[in-house]
Symmetry: C2
């Protein structure tokens, strides 16, 4: 399980040398998006060898029977690399289906260290890291979204549980607007934008403080974290 | 925010070169345990320079007014490193109090990439990585513990939410016994032991399968993950 960078910049900043050293030994990869994976592997030291590699796709469109067919890749004890679009494979992406298959077939699974936007944002938020939940994507329509925010805030308050959210980047600004207008003014909200990138922005303020001055997030990857 | 290894082995296997390159520029550290931090920094390339460094402790015994006093460390714009006992600082440890202070005082917080036992275990579990919760430590007494397991399993089932637990290592085996005797036999349970170490063991099976053959975990760090 091979993590990949969250954005631009040298791979050595976010991937251990020990992980980069594993890559040349792999000839077969299951990836969320072939083009991104090729670009990453090229930057990670496999430039000039990409044509020799075998790529298979596993994304939100992959059917269960297609996942099952991937078990043949491991025939003869071959090592297969799993790579997601960005960050840790099988967290907030469909890669877990391949891992579940490995456990069913007795194939050894080895998770390698790399950047997790969720954990980097949580660390830097200053909010409770001893109890937290990742809700993934919440509904995009305003009414349903506000209801989901209220439900998560209620749980956050009653259980002292930090809530982590992400959204498709083009909806970042509308999610932030709904968060600050829905959350209790005293609830602390962390906005973590483009983590590990040169323009990284991580700030925790109360909903009331954000409301006074809303930043423009644009279409950059963003993690939202709050604690009531 | 400087991650540290989860166990024995070369630091280059779990920390990016870009993170190791930051360390020599820091002279002041806030750490969960001074002895562990010294040993880590020595292994990370600061051997021979440890005596020149300044260490302050932040752990579960630190009082709020003592945390507030740490704000003086940043006077004159000095950089301060935060290091936990193992893994990511401020996740599943008391470091978040210092980060919250930084946000209140307008001090920039920079999270660096390293190993997260929770995320490495989640990746490798094959369980749902698109919705999950970390409950931290649950009660140690059998009755209360079983009630907590039942409550988390109920939520897991109704929300398709993966549940992540840890325990003080000497209680690993009793927690595993309570998990397999309390969970629905069909619930999938991942046991992730000594992640990133030479004896790493990560297996996902149903509670019924585990019950037939319970492994002895001993006092090694372990993450438990289940999905009903």
């Amino acid at each position: 399980m091979i993590p990949s960078p969250l954005g631009e910049g040298p791979v050595e900043a976010v991937l251990p040398a020990g992980v980069l050293a594993v890559l040349p030994s792999l000839k077969c990869f299951v990836v969320e998006e072939v083009r991104t994976a090729r670009r990453f592997l090229s930057a990670a030291g496999l430039k000039g060898h990409i044509q020799e590699l075998e790529f298979h796709t596993l994304n939100e469109h992959t059917q269960p029977q297609e996942v099952e067919a991937l078990s043949g890749l491991f025939d003869g004890g071959r090592n297969v690399g799993l790579i997601s679009e960005a960050g840790l494979p099988a967290v907030a992406d469909p890669g877990a289906a391949l891992v579940a298959l490995c456990h069913r077939h007795g194939i050894k699974v080895v998770p390698l260290t790399g950047p997790s936007s969720l954990m980097l944002a949580l660390m830097a938020s200053g909010l409770n890291g001893q109890s937290f939940a990742f809700a993934g994507y919440i509904p995009a329509k305003t009414d349903e979204r506000k209801a989901a925010i209220r439900r998560l805030e209620k749980r956050s308050l009653s259980e002292n549980q930090t809530q982590i959210l992400i959204e498709t980047p083009y909806r970042n600004d509308s999610l932030l607007a709904d968060l600050v207008s829905t959350l209790d003014p005293r609830t602390r909200l962390c906005v973590a934008l483009n983590i590990t990138c040169p323009d990284e922005f991580i700030q925790t303020r109360t909903a009331a403080q954000w409301k006074k001055q809303l930043p423009v997030l644009g279409k950059r990857p963003c993690v939202f974290i709050f604690l009531a």
